[in-house]
Amino acid sequence: MSEQPPVEPGGLPGPDEPGAAAEPKAVKSHKAEGKGAHRDPKPTLAQAFLKELWADNTFTVTLLAILLAGLVAALLMVLGDAATRQQWAYLFYQPGTTLQATWDLLSVSFGNLFKGSIVDPDTFTRWMYGMDGITWQRVLYPISETLTFAAPLIFTGLAVALPFRAGLFNIGGQGQAIMGALAGATVGFALGLPAPLGWIAATIAGALLGGLWGYIVGILKARTGAHEVILTIMLNYIALYFLSWFILQKGVKDPNRSDAISKPVPSGSLYPKIFGPTASESGLRASLAIVLAILAAAAMAWLLRRGTFGFELRAVGYNPDAARTAGMKVGATLALTMALSGALAGLGGTTMAIGTAGVLTVDVVGQIGFNGILVALLGRVKPWGVVWAGLLYGALQAGGNKMQTGGVAVHADGTTVIVAGVSVELVGVIQALIVIFVAAPLLVRAIFKLRRSPSAAATVGLAKG
């Protein structure tokens, strides 16, 4: 083209270049110049939330949120431990003792959190020196627990993160997970296939029924405009009560038991344990589920970054009007997104049923559907972020169990003190605190006097998976 712009001497980008100070203006101006009537793109709840989540939530903020949650948790532990609390009454008479007691409590408790979720250094040392007949299984036990708890949470976290990118808030992970667990277990004991056919069939069934549960939401949203939050909440109830009824049916219920529990899933339909078949006897429960969860995250990352459908999904999430104008089918995209999301959550439920529990009970999936929302937010609704968040959550759960046991604090002078355990409820509080701090980036930034990174809004790395 001959009509090139005037090249300023030096040709350097001036201050009016996009991205510089003129940024907010540029963003504002074109909207106002739109139609006479106001037609600004109205962000949905999920869109607005996403913007807030990404604008502020740098890696630092996430890290600081975890730190802050730890601090508040420490405070709660001190308040919750009768012995230590009493010590604080003598703060001014025996400050040394008070602080020592506090330190004992915190070091043992947080130490247990680490020992219960990653590795117990003491066990490791004893195994290294071949003492007490410690096997490698004992060393790996904490990690195995963490992975066991993490796998379903990664699935349900992804199930929330994916529709989030399409502008949908999936509160229905719980219901979809329940349907996934139900389908997986049922296919397990109904078909009774040998491994690996058994668990493959169960996995597919779980994904399909969970996917159907999500698709119902998507298609109703696309066709009738019903709000997905309401729909998913209602479908959660339906799924839960359906499961309660289903367990009691003849052929499902375990005839040898009086309580509401199903027959056990035959071993051919259970996920293999990743630490080897003998490992299950030693308590290493971690199964194939965690591998599947990470594969699912990889698939979602690929979809969002490279997939044609991922492009449509993100386009619809940011601006459905523009997506429609560009020839995309918005309704079909929403429906398919919810189906995929339901399949992910369904897989989360399946892993609970045929990976961990091996039977169906009313609370076979626990709270993974709802915790998935927290995991997704903590992972900033990005696939790999969700994996890390799921692992952290799994670690908190595994370590939380260990925190209840208490322990012995050894002082420098060789004396020892027995420290009481921390209640498991407190672990739940810590998890909630992390999410509160992550979901309230403004608060964290205010506490640490962080400045919003100027590039946060401009970089499009964010738009990628």
Partner: protein
């Protein structure tokens, strides 16, 4: 700035006008330099500081709460209280008093979302005036207004000036500046390039804005039309409320010609274009493409068949702000080779294609990976133009292709449209800017109340088209003086205000609401205005 002065700030999109004013209003902090008020340097830390020293601002985006009444909005942030309760009566009296003093009729009890855009803007001005400001900043106030509303606004500005207020008027529309400003400062790339009196010729101002000579008319050869590409026959389309917006349109666009649709906004153009693109169902009649009836085609079918589309509202329909420039450049071809397939995208092809288009269409962005929302309006529009014109087109449908775009980009986009025509595409241009239609079109269809009133040649005088835009066909022309004033109002913003009487209830869509709503309020509340309503506020101003 002097007292009682209208100072126009003129500049291309992204030149830094709004940024400068946001600094003045305390929304942004200056990195260096200082602001002098009455000779003293001041530090403005936020809008309340700005209001404190007498600076008020009317934003491009109205800062109003839609579900609140006018009074509530005006008192928001400076609530009148009696004990712990809000004093509505006092506030409402204040609104009335201010609106009467400055000739800004508003109903204090009306709910803001029910008001037309022009009146909402008036509420914003009233809001600023109740804070006793001396300096009023109007940030691109005319961007959202119809020509009639623009004229009213210019009147209001003159009135405010007469009342001793100073006004900073930010715009990139040359005509408005010339009509109302006392002094014009031109800003380019964040620097003042110069000042000029309003008597300076438009071409000189445009030169200053873009830093080179700008052709305000597109140079083009005569059209060589070939066979019919797009055919509309008795097309009827409903608007969002189910009312007939397009009421039986017949139109043909042939290969190698530009057909321009002129008309005051809200006369069914939006619905017409959306129906052509498969974005809105056709109620009755037919749309044909190359002779085949395509009423039921999806948007994708149109796009894949070689129809290019520049939507009228780029922020809503044209672009995804959070997507990168590269992604926006393939927004409707991402699934086609070489950019991608049914399953996966090809980022290499997308990126190299983007680099090429950024170069060819002179899109000013740092990199192809930058979010499109960070670009200036003109460059955003170029992204759409580049996207649509980078494939072989059979038909180009361009709705308001240069709305809110700076002069330099307008010229560029117009040239691209003509180039598309010369390459053999049929082009349909819909614009509410008569100048644009006149400079691009080979045939002009004038649309009024959902119908095409006439199809005229490009050499038809402005006045005649203006009359048609106001719904007056030659047989029904009223007395000449009346017609003339009305024609001007319809044709261009710089005309005489208040042609509303001539345009009663133009059309029951957004733009028309503004007019019907504006009519009673536009007439002078003191009753001094005659049929020529411009006498009213202006009389006081002069």
């Amino acid at each position: 700035m002097e007292p009682s002065e209208i100072h126009a700030l003129l500049g291309e999109n992204g030149a830094g006008k709004s940024t400068l004013m946001n600094v003045l209003y305390g929304l942004l902090q200056p990195d260096e330099g200082e602001i002098l008020i009455d000779g003293r340097p001041v530090k403005i830390k936020g809008p309340s500081d700005a209001i404190g020293i007498g600076i008020g601002m009317v934003h491009q985006h109205f800062m109003l709460v839609p579900v609140f009444s006018v009074t509530d909005n005006v008192m928001l942030g400076a609530e009148h209280v009696r004990g712990p309760f809000l004093d509505h009566d006092k506030a409402s009296k204040l609104v009335l008093e201010v609106s009467q003093r400055y000739g800004l009729p508003v109903d204090p009890d009306a709910i803001v979302e029910d008001l037309p855009i022009g009146v909402q803007q008036r509420v914003e001005i009233v809001k600023a005036l109740t804070r006793d400001v001396d300096l009023l900043i109007l940030d691109e106030p005319t961007a959202v207004l119809t020509p009639q509303e623009t004229d009213e606004l210019l009147e209001v500005m003159r009135g405010l000036k007469a009342a001793g207020k100073s006004i900073v008027f930010i715009t990139h529309k040359l005509r408005e500046v010339k009509a109302v400003a006392d002094l014009i400062t031109v800003i380019r790339r964040g620097k003042t390039v110069g000042t000029a009196p309003p008597s300076a010729p438009e071409s000189e101002l445009a030169d200053m804005m873009v830093g080179r000579s700008v052709l305000l008319r597109v140079e083009k050869e005569a059209a060589q039309p070939a066979g019919s590409v797009l055919g509309l026959s008795q097309l009827v389309v409903a608007d969002d409320r189910g009312l007939q917006a397009v009421a039986g349109v017949d139109l043909e666009v042939r290969a190698g010609e530009v057909v321009g649709v002129a008309g005051v906004q809200g006369n069914g153009q939006t619905e017409l274009v959306e129906a052509i693109m498969g974005l809105r169902p056709v109620a009755s009649g037919t749309v044909t493409l190359d002779g085949a009836v395509v009423n039921a085609w999806s948007t994708r079918q149109f796009l894949d068949a070689g129809v290019g589309y520049i939507p009228e509202d780029r922020a809503v329909d044209g672009l995804i702000r959070e997507f990168s420039v590269a992604e926006n450049l393939v927004l409707d071809v991402y699934h086609q080779k070489p950019y991608g397939s049914k399953f996966s995208l090809n980022p290499d092809a997308i990126n190299s294609g983007a680099t090429e288009k950024i170069d060819k269409f002179d899109i000013r962005t740092r990199t192809a990976g930058y979010a499109v929302g960070t670009l200036s309006g003109g460059n955003q529009q170029k992204v759409i133009v580049a996207r649509e014109m980078s494939r072989r087109l059979k038909l180009l449908v361009a709705a308001q292709p240069t709305r809110g775009v700076d002069v330099g980009s307008i010229e560029f986009i117009h040239k691209q449209i003509i180039a598309e025509r010369d390459a053999g595409a049929a082009v349909l241009v819909v614009s509410s800017e008569l100048d644009e239609v006149l400079s691009l079109a080979d045939r002009i269809a004038v649309m009024y109340r959902g119908k095409i009133l006439a199809i005229v040649g490009p050499d038809t005088p402005r006045e005649e088209i203006g009359l048609l835009m106001a719904g007056i066909t030659s047989g029904t022309a009223p007395e000449s003086a009346f017609a003339a004033s009305m024609e001007e109002a319809a044709a261009g913003p710089a005309g005489v205000a208040l042609a509303d009487e001539a345009l009663p209830h133009v059309h029951p869509t957004a733009g028309a609401d503004t007019e019907s709503g504006g009519a009673p309020e536009g007439s002078d509340p003191d009753g001094s205005g005659g049929p020529d309503g411009s006498e009213g506020p202006e009389g006081k101003a002069a």
